[in-house]
């Protein structure tokens, strides 16, 4: 561990709380001030994140950097241990960037329930939980951050959500809680099985591998359910479409971009290295469920009539690829999984943004009623097309690097993992890419192409002359509410779009950071398997 510069992560993680504190003392009626503070705070947090990026020693990305090890809750032998390595760095910075951009987006897109004060405060608290989960190097600390995320998201869905928000938020909360409970049992079991000495990751990784094989398998089962609910993996995914569909745009974006990654991150950071034999036994199960998720999620998408719900289901399919990568227990697979997490965060986040903005303008996301977006809002339409192309794994865009190496990895999984099974899974997963192209382009065709639905065309301009109108660039103003991408939206979205292209064109940017850490991790897992 590298203990230099050790205040950096703590500042970066807890800085949003400063904003929350200030906002508490400002009356809720001053909405503008709250928005400004939220943007400034999250912007400052992102600046710290970027400074972290600069300070990070890339030649040494396998070791934990900016580490801190302070006494915390001595009674239960839990310490405040934090640190950042190549695995967590991209996700840590991504969480900051997403929160900042979502705060920017909120500038003139406060969800219908109003009260931006509470909304933005919750968002900042959420950010603390997310960033904290990625830096924690102590199980209890991780668990605290992991759970800290739940409550703000629960309220974001429950208060600012759609019509069915009560049901969705309750389901989200209870389901995740259920997983967390089992996870905590597993954590405690792990703690006691390793001699009840420490909750630090370092200790548990070293000692966990020595636990008896059968016990590892059982403890892994607990962790598996906890993390699998969060990912979510088939068959624990049913909270996701409801939560996503009902959540406000901001909630959906954060949920897709970061929250889901806590589950997969937990697998990579905790479950695999601490319980190598357990992971080895469970790998086929995870692989099978992941591939079922890919196909099943895609079929679910095809059945949807609501755009947002469709995107939500596509998350199930994409996270299936991530989990398949993890289940191969190879560097290829885990690298791709980590890349896939970031890529999915960017792409699906972008899709939810677009869905939110469409809803804002049309007050519906029913695919049947949407048509001809490309004529009414050409820029929005093309952004949708771009995000769809990225989401279906087009090379040159980020999504590809989360899928393709997974397929490469599944051909030759880690030693001792059933090869024939994984090769079959590889073929099925590859077929999943066809279905992905199917539901995404079908969505694009139905919503963006063709002529606009007359329902949404203002009456002074007859529908049949729309094509001609589009030709003269007059599309921006035929309808009061239907206008193309606004400035605020551009500011919030541009970084997403650029990142999708940049990581797609030059993936080495991220692979280079992650790879050494992943190699070390896979070695550790390999050593733990007799």
């Amino acid at each position: 561990m590298d203990y230099s510069n050790n205040a950096l992560l703590t500042i970066g993680t807890f800085l949003p709380l400063v904003g929350v504190l200030i906002m508490m003392f400002i009356p809720g009626s001053d909405e503008r001030a709250h928005k400004q503070i939220a943007i400034i705070t999250s912007g400052a947090t992102l600046a710290v994140g970027i400074y972290t990026l600069i300070q990070f020693d890339y030649g040494n990305s396998a070791t934990l950097q900016f580490a801190v090890n302070e006494e915390w809750i001595e009674v239960i032998k839990s310490n405040y241990i934090i640190g950042l390595d190549g695995i967590s760095l991209p996700l840590y910075v991504l969480s900051m960037a997403v929160t900042f951009l979502v705060a920017v987006y909120t500038w003139n897109n406060v969800p219908d329930a109003g009260n931006p004060k509470a909304f933005l405060m919750l968002m900042l608290v959420l950010q603390v939980g997310m960033a904290g989960s990625f830096i924690a190097q102590d199980l209890i600390l991780f668990f605290v951050f992991f759970e800290l995320v739940l409550l703000p998201m629960y309220f974001m869905i429950g208060v600012w959500g759609g019509e069915d928000r009560q049901y969705a938020s309750l389901k989200f909360f209870l389901y995740t809680m259920f997983g967390s409970a089992l996870m905590l049992v597993a954590f405690l079991a792990l703690f006691f099985q390793t001699g009840a000495e420490s909750f630090s990751f370092e200790h548990l990784m070293a000692a966990g591998a020595l636990i008896d094989h059968d016990v590892q398998v059982w403890i892994f089962a607990g962790m598996f359910i906890g993390f699998a609910v969060k990912v979510p993996m088939f068959p624990f995914h049913t909270w996701l479409p409801d939560a996503h569909t009902q959540a406000p745009t901001q909630g959906s974006v954060i949920l897709a971009a970061i929250l889901l990654k806590l589950g997969t991150y937990g697998f990579v950071r905790i479950a695999l290295p601490m319980l190598p034999q357990g992971a080895h036994e469970w790998a086929p199960v995870i692989g099978i469920l992941a591939v079922i998720g890919i196909i099943y999620g895609a079929l679910g998408c095809l059945a949807q009539t609501d755009m947002k719900r469709l995107i939500a289901f596509s998350s199930v399919a994409h996270m299936g690829f991530v989990m398949l990568g993890i289940s191969t227990l190879t560097t290829f697979g885990i690298n791709a999984a980590l890349f896939g997490m970031v890529a999915h965060g960017l792409i699906t986040g972008m899709l939810f943004f677009v869905a939110g903005s469409i809803k804002h303008r049309y007050h519906t996301l029913e695919i049947k009623r949407l048509s001809g977006l490309l004529i009414q809002m050409p820029k929005m339409g093309w952004i949708l097309g771009f995000a769809a192309m990225a989401s279906l794994g087009l090379p040159g865009l980020a999504g590809f690097w989360g899928e393709f190496p997974v397929i490469l990895a599944a051909y030759s999984p880690a030693f001792g993992v059933n090869e024939a099974l994984f090769r079959t899974l590889m073929v099925i997963a590859a077929m999943g890419t066809v279905l992905a192209a199917g539901y995404l382009l079908w969505l694009f065709q139905r919503t963006a192409m063709g002529d606009p639905n007359p329902e949404f065309v203002s009456h002074d301009e007859p529908a049949q002359s729309l094509s001609a109108a589009a030709n003269h660039g007059a599309d921006a103003d035929h309808h009061d509410e239907i206008h193309d991408v606004t400035i605020v939206e551009w500011i919030a979205w541009m970084p997403f779009l650029v990142a999708i292209v940049v990581f797609g064109v030059y993936p080495q940017l991220m692979f280079k950071v992650m790879d050494p850490a992943v190699i070390q991790l896979v070695e550790r897992v390999g050593n733990g398997i007799p």
Binding site: L170, F173, G300, P395, A410, A468, F511
Partner: protein, 783 residues
């Protein structure tokens, strides 16, 4: 950072920097996209300039490559490979860069050249289009995609270029997406190709598994040297990759997207069908030839067929048959492309690598020319209609350049001696015969018969006979000549007469969204404007001339010499059968070689010399004669048939007129062809519809009612348990006890009341408490 093992010292500037060839149009794409609309020519100038620049670099590289080959003095010519680190995983680095050899040079030059011409042509053809800038951005990226793929030094870059083409073909085919039919054609193209791409992804994974590298040279060398663990795995890799080629190159049975892709603007069709996109599949097979050759045991002694040859052969025949029943000129050409791609695949399947690659080369010119000629006709003569029966006829008088280019290209396509197609196609057919693939030899000559037949029919319909519809108007022989002044009004009606067509699938339109306004009638005195005719003239010339780079009939083997190092396998010397074509088929010769090579073929590991490609056969007019006779026969049959059916002139074949109505068998066959073998029905109505509706609905029902039902059920039963606990335990037992003991009355009641309150955090607390209990139990058990 440069990846290791680069020997570029003596290669020359153009060869070393050939990576610029795709990069220039790639950058141009972004320039057009971002700034095109503000440019005086809407970004088309950037597109054309980038293609010209790419062409210049490609030409320089070609020059230096020729120099490299000529100065090698018979030694093996090494490709020029440069790679930069692109991504890494598990410490292995993967590159992006260039892999230049004869094959790559040929296709690079071809793509850059044809793209340039097509873009020039497009400036006229899509003039005034509402998405003019988008069009040029897409078509530039399209060329860039092909160039990226052609240059690829490894599989990942190949996939990159491959998929970029998929994307841009989607954009270009669906260029006029306001029409549902067009957007559906675009989707169909993307999906069909995507189905094949599963094979590409899987095949690449298998290759990485076998060889531990994704570098094309590494893979080829190892495969050719027999350095692989399992031949079975290699075979699967070859099959998987070939599935991708079936999708991309429109081979049977995934060819159905190609005719629909005619919904795009005609210049796009011509680019797509000549040098890019559909050629990509053939190129992949040629690029990784050792993998296919060894994996599928092509040219193994005694082999009478293999996957590639069979698929190629079926495609040749099926597509040519389909071309014969089309009314849409572009669809005739589309099926013709499919059929010609079948020839290329079949050639690769029988070991005729050089001939197939040369056929890519010659075919590109004449097919591009034919499409552009079709575009010229629809642009100038037939009011954007492509229906040969309704809107064409007799055009040869008024469109001399288009007619000339068409005729020359048709001759090349049909394989008439001394036109380019003859040299390439005949060599494929001849090679099949020499390599003992007798079935495919027959397929080849029958295909030649069919090719000239459908082209004769199309030529007759377009250029001869009486002008009809739009053409009649253009020719000025329409009965209502007095309507001249109303021309603008008439063209507006082109949508109307499309509605008149009974069979929608049988005609095509380049539906320019705006009517053609203000152009005087006739549009041009002679032929189309120069931006259209100039490319036609150039391509028409090349439709003849390109053949002479490798014309065995006149003793030229230059092309073969330049590219043979790209095969990746040594050329086998002809032993006994070199001069004497007949001897090949004799039982005796086969038996002899079985003894010599069968042993070697059995154990793949050791000896590298066991895998080799047969040398191209020596040309002999005698060997070509059967094919040529069939071509002549095809011409005559089709000519008489066309005259009889369309020209209503009595001749020998007049009795055949109307046979499809009179004879049930012929009728059924005709219907079978018109309905495209019902494959579209199978794919769209059965498979796609099935997955999109019943299957996905069923999955979703399962999700909502079964999986989610369990979740909701668990939630509800927990709630009921809570209520039960509250009613029975809390209220009766605990509370009763509390009351009875006279202690503080409601305290514990309050404590447990939340159990039934429905508040989520309380439920959470309950669950959490249960988990904590579980944890304690576990601790007690284990400590």
């Amino acid at each position: 950072m440069l990846l290791a093992a680069q020997e570029t010292a003596a290669a020359g500037w153009f060869l070393e920097n050939a990576w610029l060839i795709p990069l220039i149009p790639f950058v141009a794409f972004f320039v057009i996209l971002l700034f095109g609309k503000k440019m005086p020519r809407g970004g088309s100038e950037v597109g054309i300039a980038s293609m010209v620049a790419a062409l210049v670099v490609a030409a320089g590289a070609a020059y230096q490559w020729i120099d490299r080959v000529d100065s090698s003095h018979g030694e093996e010519v090494e490709p020029v490979i440069r790679q930069w680190v692109w991504w890494q995983s598990g410490g292995t680095r993967f590159g992006i860069g260039e892999h230049i050899d004869g094959l790559a040079i040929v296709v690079l030059l071809l793509v850059a050249f044809i793209s340039t011409l097509v873009q020039i042509y497009s400036t006229e053809y899509v003039k005034g289009d509402r998405r003019y800038t988008h069009y040029f951005a897409s078509i530039t990226l399209f060329s860039a995609g092909m160039l990226i793929m052609v240059l690829a030094p490894n599989m990942v870059q190949l996939i990159l270029g491959w998929e970029i083409m998929g994307l841009t073909s989607f954009l270009l085919i669906g260029h006029w997406w306001e029409e549902k039919a067009n957007s559906e054609a675009a989707l169909k193209a993307f999906w069909t190709v995507r189905v094949g791409d599963v094979g590409l992804l899987v095949g690449t994974a298998v290759l990485l598994g076998i060889f531990g590298t994704l570098d094309i040279k590494g893979i080829n060398d190892s495969a050719a040297a027999g350095q692989f663990g399992s031949h079975n795995a290699l075979m699967w890799a070859a099959i998987a990759l070939f599935i991708a080629c079936i999708g991309k190159s429109g081979q049977f049975p995934l060819h159905t997207w190609l005719p629909d892709a005619m919904a795009g603007p005609t210049p796009v069709s011509s680019l797509l069908h000549s040098s890019t996109m559909v050629v990509a599949g053939v190129y992949l097979v040629a690029r990784l030839y050792p993998v296919f050759h060894v994996g599928l045991e092509i040219n193994a002694v005694g082999q009478t067929f293999n996957l590639i040859a069979v698929i190629g052969g079926i495609t040749v025949i099926v597509a040519a048959a389909l071309a014969f029943v089309q009314n849409d000129i572009k669809k005739v050409l589309a099926y013709s492309t499919v059929s010609q791609l079948g020839y290329m695949m079949m050639g690769l399947g029988v070991g005729a690598w050089t001939a197939s690659v040369f056929h890519i080369f010659t075919h590109a010119f004449f097919k591009c020319c034919l499409f552009l000629a079709a575009g010229s006709i629809s642009y100038t003569a037939s009011h954007h209609s492509f229906d040969m029966k309704k809107d064409m006829g007799g055009l040869w008088k008024k469109m001399p350049i288009t007619f000339g280019a068409w005729m020359v290209s048709t001759a090349a396509l049909a394989g008439i001696p001394f036109f380019s197609g003859f040299f390439s196609k005949d060599e494929i057919i001849d090679s099949a015969k020499h390599a003992d693939y007798t079935i495919f030899y027959l397929v080849g000559i029958v295909g030649a018969f069919m090719t000239i037949a459908y082209m004769t029919r199309a030529t007759y319909l377009v250029f001869f006979g009486t002008p009809r519809g739009g053409a009649a108007h253009f020719m000025g022989v329409e009965h209502g000549l007095e309507h001249r002044d109303d021309h603008a009004h008439e063209t507006l009606g082109h949508d109307d007469h499309s509605d008149d067509h009974a069979d929608q699938s049988d005609h095509g339109h380049d539906d320019h969204p705006e009517p053609v306004r203000g152009r005087p009638f006739p549009f041009a005195k002679y032929d189309s404007p120069w931006k259209i005719t100039a490319p036609l003239l150039i391509l028409g010339t090349l439709a003849v001339g390109s053949g002479y780079l490798n014309a065995p009939a006149v003793g030229v083997h230059w092309f073969e010499h330049q590219t043979e190092s790209s095969i990746g396998l040594p050329l086998a010397e002809h032993e006994a059968d070199g001069d004497n074509a007949e001897q090949v088929s004799s039982e005796h010769a086969v038996d002899e070689s079985v003894g010599a090579e069968d042993v070697g073929a059995a154990e793949h590991a050791a000896d590298s010399a066991i895998y080799s490609v047969p040398e191209p056969p020596k040309f002999a007019w005698g060997a070509a004669a059967p094919g040529l006779l069939l071509v002549l026969a095809g011409f005559l049959v089709s000519l008489f048939l066309s005259l009889a059916v369309f020209g209503k002139r009595k001749n020998v074949l007049s009795p055949l007129v109307g046979i499809t109505e009179r004879n049930k068998l012929f009728g059924a066959g005709h219907r079978f062809l018109v309905n495209k073998l019902y494959l579209d029905h199978l794919y769209e109505k059965v498979i796609v519809h099935g997955v999109a509706y019943p299957v996905s609905k069923a999955a979703y029902w399962f999700n909502q009612n079964i999986i989610d039902g369990v979740v909701d059920g668990a939630g509800r039963s927990t709630k009921r348990t809570g209520e039960w606990v509250y009613r029975n335990i809390d209220q009766r037992l605990v509370d009763g006890a509390v009351n009875a003991s006279g202690m503080v009355a409601n305290e514990s009641g309050h404590a447990l009341q939340p159990v039934q309150s429905g508040k989520v955090n309380h439920y959470g607390a309950l669950l959490f408490g249960a988990a904590a209990v579980g944890a304690i139990v576990l601790i007690l058990l284990n400590v």
